[in-house]
């Protein structure tokens, strides 16, 4: 690990200010990803700005939504009563990730900003455009089992590893940011992460020094019909091969008023499946309908040497998730 300076600001403004002055600074939350990467010398910040004690509350917001501070631990989010009752999708997604120990340390902000698990990104003897722009990508012809089937580029085919973010994408969450001199803005989570294009080193729409302060969830009608399903290589403590956050809102006549669908493990960002959603809106739920929607969403998929299986796999999980949700009795959430 490369030696660094450690700062613990009193508030978010102070954090942003330190970060503005020290360009090679990184925010430190739970450290479960950042410290690992520092040990591998993949990340070499000169200054660590500890934000783990900031933005630590969950509260209701006007109009019925929920505001979750960026510093809230993943475990606390999953266990929070309002989250469990109003956004059970988020609870399920968080609990399917990592291990209890890691979730106890990991923060909401850190989870959103965690970096890819591409094996070549982690290995400093390999070429990686994300680590070193223009160096080349050793993953393309290497082990691509965990890589993208959607939205990849010739520069990078890495996936975003978060489970939580897949649920947040499906729930249309927005992310609150604070920039230098008190500049605040909000980004939809689906717009926060980027596809790699020619600049895989630029992973998010955050400006340098911008700090995530909170995630906001809006009221929704999905609490009774939503599920997060993750497929992985062992029963627990493994990243998703694919994951599916699905939600249905059925009208009185049983037709689909609105469907939500987001996919994990398939792209450089949590993949909001808007094509499939649009195909399902207004339809009567039917297995064939769901399959068609899944086929349409995945028609753009481009498999790599070891991950073609993900296409069929994710379709199956989409269909089975929606089928189960459609069959669910109204009361049983």
């Amino acid at each position: 690990m490369t030696p660094f300076r450690y700062e613990k600001p009193a508030d978010t403004a102070g954090a942003v200010e330190i970060s503005r002055r020290a360009p090679a600074a990184r925010y430190l939350a739970g450290g479960t990803n950042l410290v690992d990467l520092m040990r591998e010398t993949i990340e070499r910040p000169e200054t660590l700005v500890d934000v783990s004690h900031l933005s630590g509350e969950i509260r209701d917001i006007d109009g019925g939504g929920l505001r979750i501070g960026a510093g809230v631990k993943n475990t606390a989010v999953a266990a929070h009563r309002s989250v469990r009752e109003r956004y059970p999708l988020l609870t399920q997604a968080i609990l399917s990730g990592a291990s209890a120990q890691i979730r106890n340390m990991a923060s909401v902000g850190g989870n959103i900003m965690q970096r890819t698990r591409c094996l070549y990104f982690y290995d400093d003897a390999s070429r990686c455009n994300k680590r070193e722009p223009g160096a080349g990508c050793d993953a393309l012809q290497g082990f691509t089992r965990n890589h993208a089937i959607l939205g990849g580029s010739a520069s990078c085919v890495a996936t975003h590893p978060s489970d939580m973010c897949v649920a947040l994408a499906a729930l249309d969450a927005s992310v609150q940011l604070e920039g230098p001199r008190g500049a605040r803005r909000s980004l939809n989570l689906t717009d926060l992460h980027r596809l790699p294009g020619n600049t895989p080193e630029i992973e998010t729409g955050l400006q340098p020094g911008e700090l995530i302060t909170a995630v906001e969830l809006h009221p929704n009608r999905f609490a009774n019909r939503c599920s997060y399903r993750k497929v992985r290589d062992r029963a627990s403590f493994a990243f998703a091969l694919v994951s599916v956050a699905a939600a249905l809102d059925l009208a009185d006549d049983g037709s689909i008023r609105e469907a939500r669908l987001a996919l994990g493990g398939v792209a450089h960002k949590p993949w909001r499946a808007r094509t499939a959603e649009a195909l399902l809106a207004g339809k009567q739920p039917a297995e064939t309908q769901f399959r068609q929607a899944a086929d349409a969403e995945l028609s753009a998929a481009r498999p790599l040497p070891h991950n073609a299986f993900k296409i069929e796999l994710v379709k199956r999980v989409i269909v089975s998730s929606f089928v189960a949700l459609a069959q669910r009795k109204e009361a049983s959430a």
Partner: protein, 761 residues
């Protein structure tokens, strides 16, 4: 304070579930491991691994590293102390290395990840940081890395652990196969696996003088480490002392590798004691694992299931010039009566680190192929797989015709099947369901040879206060060695357990054979038995003419109830205290070497078992979950059911990992392991492991010391076969490639899900 262990006060605890004597120490953090020894002026080392698979180091730029505050020295091939090549295990009686390449003596790179520099610093953080600053340039050469591409150049090794590489018996097996009524002829593949004991490899090397070395090591090969070091360092053996009181898991991976010499050389170079603890990545890069394999198993059978041909051949991918081909054909040498037998092994030589022993090397992967093939045959014959095995039960060893010392596998199967509820299984694949899960049961034979290594010695000292100390340079890797040997010695000496102390883990004690090949319990028990015989003679001599035992010969007395007594007579005898006091001695002491393991020459000796499991396979995702396990073993007398059950269970858990989740991702372009971490190398986690039931026949082997067989390795054998067979029963899909990950299961699902079934609500 050690909590009371009720067994401690008891006599005769053999066969009792005595808790591990080292348990309280470990729970309290008081057991001191090799990485925790802290001599004065201790320095810390970190390794710089090579980034190419083959070639030469042409320059090492260590200026930034050297300029880092706290760096003491940087060792490379240019300044490393001169050392000889380590003699190799098996090949050389002194040897314990798997790879005899010189360590940091030249600029050659032999595999990707080999150490090219070692940074020695005032603390571990500085050492690691400075190591990251060392820049190495190479002139790379084309390396041999693709097993598949080089398969055609596979060659036959001279022997398989001293056994013939090729075995043919009973005529031309290929011909018998060609004319067989029922046949199976398939290819099975297994990937590379890596060692991941919880304790990282660690050494603290202390040069007490220019020519005297004390090494605190985490090793399962104490005596051989000394003899190997004596050769490499050109020192008399008695100038080298190795201590290893606790090892945090061995599994074959804790031994003599390049890191051993790097720590010793670094300590010499720095002129200070040096601690080297490999990082988890370092363990993957420096310590070999299990070789990958491609195996063919072909079976020919009559309609009653009796085998007319058994062919097991194939190749493993090993380091160029290796001595360890992985004995995957060993199970087929002893398990089944076939009219004809053809077994052969080849190796593909690659520029990779030497593969090393890893819990049942060879037998684990070989039993996967063999036991899968048997299940395939059972399906073709429409015969119960347990019954198929029973019908092929040999009366004598199929390879060499020797008699079995003991063999109760049919009984183990019978008891196992009963307890598992095997008869409830529907043999038709794909018939048992629970929602979206398909359920199936599978079975496979577990096999591991009986070995006992010669040359183990033990010393017993009886003191005038009626206590005994038993000493042997044995290895405690958490299996319960110290506990079980204490039980055995206490039983022999007729003392309660709390009056016997077992001292081990130090080469200053009488030498023991290595803890490998599941041999240690029998090897040390044999030495203790020999020392005990001498002790009886010595006590009789000390008892003299004033003793009620006067005139009795050694064969006429026995040790029991805290003393020496005439056989068959409750009354006549004396306590140890009485004998020693009268003789004016504060102790009596005897040392002896165990009898040579002649039993291995005279008999075919095997440990056996039947592995039963139930799996659930998800129709939608291809995920496999092991739901239930029963292992039924025939492994001689069980000295301690508690520690034995842990060994069996641990082996089975490792077998589940081997079958379903573990795989070393080796990039054939670079020769680099791409998943050198526990995040990406998937060991089974708690949720992957079901309740594991283990039972055993407990029938002593009349030919082995104390009636015991080794049990450390057999647990992993048969597991992958049982799981693959259960998956077949669940789904009708036969997967012949490990590990069985969801994508492989899915590959066989032809129907695109979601187009057929109507939605019922």
């Amino acid at each position: 304070m050690t909590p009371a262990n009720p067994a401690m006060r008891r006599f005769g605890t053999i066969g009792q579930p005595v808790s591990r004597l080292d348990g309280p120490l470990k729970v309290a953090g008081a057991a001191r491991f090799a990485a925790e020894v802290r001599p004065e002026r201790l320095a810390y080392a970190a390794i710089v691994p090579a980034a190419v698979a083959k070639g030469h180091v042409i320059a090492i730029d260590a200026a930034d590293a050297r300029a880092t505050r706290g760096v003491i020295a940087i060792m490379t091939h240019e300044n490393a102390p001169r050392m000889g090549r380590p003699p190799r295990f098996i090949e050389d009686p002194d040897g314990t290395a798997f790879d005899s390449s010189p360590v940091m003596q030249d600029n050659r790179v032999r595999w990707n990840g080999q150490a090219v520099a070692v940074v020695i610093a005032e603390n571990q953080d500085i050492a690691e940081h400075a190591a990251s600053l060392v820049r190495v340039s190479y002139s790379p050469e084309a390396a041999k890395l693709s097993f598949q591409a080089l398969l055609l150049s596979a060659r036959r090794p001279a022997s398989i652990l001293g056994q013939p590489t090729e075995v043919n018996a009973g005529g031309d097996a290929e011909q018998a196969l060609a004319s067989a009524r029922f046949t199976v002829d398939e290819i099975y593949t297994t990937p590379r696996y890596n060692h991941n004991a919880i304790e990282l490899h660690a050494l603290t090397a202390v040069w007490e003088a220019e020519d005297r070395l004390t090494l605190h090591d985490s090793t399962q090969m104490l005596a051989l480490t000394v003899s190997t070091l004596a050769r490499v360092l050109d020192l008399p053996k008695d100038h080298i002392r190795v201590l290893s009181p606790f090892v945090g898991g061995g599994f074959g991976g804790k031994g003599f590798f390049s890191h051993t010499l790097l720590a010793i050389a670094a300590a010499k170079l720095a002129g200070r004691p040096v601690r080297l603890v490999l990082s988890r990545e370092g363990v993957f890069r420096l310590i070999g694992g299990r070789a990958n394999s491609r195996q063919r198993v072909a079976l020919g059978a009559r309609s009653d299931g009796t085998l007319t041909a058994l062919i097991h051949t194939g190749a493993t991918g090993v380091m160029t010039g290796t001595i360890f081909p992985e004995q995957f054909t060993f199970p087929a040498r002893h398990l089944y009566a076939a009219d004809s037998l053809h077994l052969d092994q080849a190796i593909v030589e690659l520029d990779i680190p030497a593969n090393i022993a890893m819990r049942a090397p060879g037998e684990s992967i070989g039993s996967f192929a063999l036991e899968s093939a048997l299940d395939e045959l059972a399906a073709k014959l429409d015969l119960d797989p347990v019954e198929l095995r029973r019908r092929n039960e040999p009366q004598k060893d199929p390879t060499d015709g020797r008699a079995f010392s003991t063999r109760n596998i049919v009984e183990a199967y019978r008891r196992g099947a009963e307890r598992f509820g095997w008869s409830n299984r529907n043999p038709a694949p794909g018939t048992q369901r629970d929602g979206e899960w398909s359920i199936g049961q599978g079975v496979a034979t577990a096999y591991y040879p009986y070995y006992r290594f010669p040359g183990s010695a033990a010393r017993i000292r009886i003191t005038a206060d009626g206590r005994a100390v038993v000493q042997a340079a044995a290895h405690e890797m958490g299996m319960g060695t110290a506990t079980v040997q204490s039980q055995h010695a206490a039983q022999l000496l007729g003392l309660p357990l709390d009056r016997v102390t077992f001292e081990y883990g130090d080469t200053a004690l009488p030498p023991s054979a290595l803890a490998g090949g599941s041999t240690q319990t029998a090897s040390i028990a044999g030495a203790v038995i020999a020392a005990h015989e001498r002790l009886v003679e010595e006590l009789l001599r000390l008892a003299g003419n004033d003793s009620p035992l006067a005139g009795a010969g050694p064969k006429e007395v026995e040790t029991r109830n805290g003393g020496l007594f005439r056989k068959g007579d409750q009354e006549i005898g004396e306590s140890y205290e009485t004998i020693l006091r009268r003789a004016g001695r504060d102790h009596a002491e005897c040392e002896a070497v165990g009898t040579p393991p002649a039993e291995m020459m005279n008999y075919s000796m095997l440990s056996l078992g039947a592995q039963f499991c139930e799996v659930r396979v998800n129709d939608i995702t291809g995920e496999v979950r092991v739901a239930r396990w029963l292992g039924s073993f025939d492994t001689g007398r069980i000295l301690n059911p508690k520690t034995a059950a842990s060994q069996f269970r641990g082996g089975i858990i490792m077998g589940i990992g081997m079958a379903l989740t573990e795989e070393t991702l080796f990039d054939e372009r670079s020769g680099r392991i791409m998943n050198p971490s526990l995040a990406e190398y998937h060991l089974p986690v708690h949720l992957d492991v079901p309740q594991i039931d283990v039972i055993w026949t407990d029938i002593p082997d009349p030919q082995s010391p104390a009636g015991v067989h080794g049990i450390g390795e057999i647990g992993i054998t048969g597991c992958a076969g049982a799981i693959a067979n259960a998956i077949y029963n669940a789904t009708g899909t036969r997967i012949r490639e490990l590990p069985i990950t969801p994508d492989k299961v899915l590959a066989f699902t032809s129907q695109p899900y979601g187009q057929s079934r109507p939605l019922s609500s």
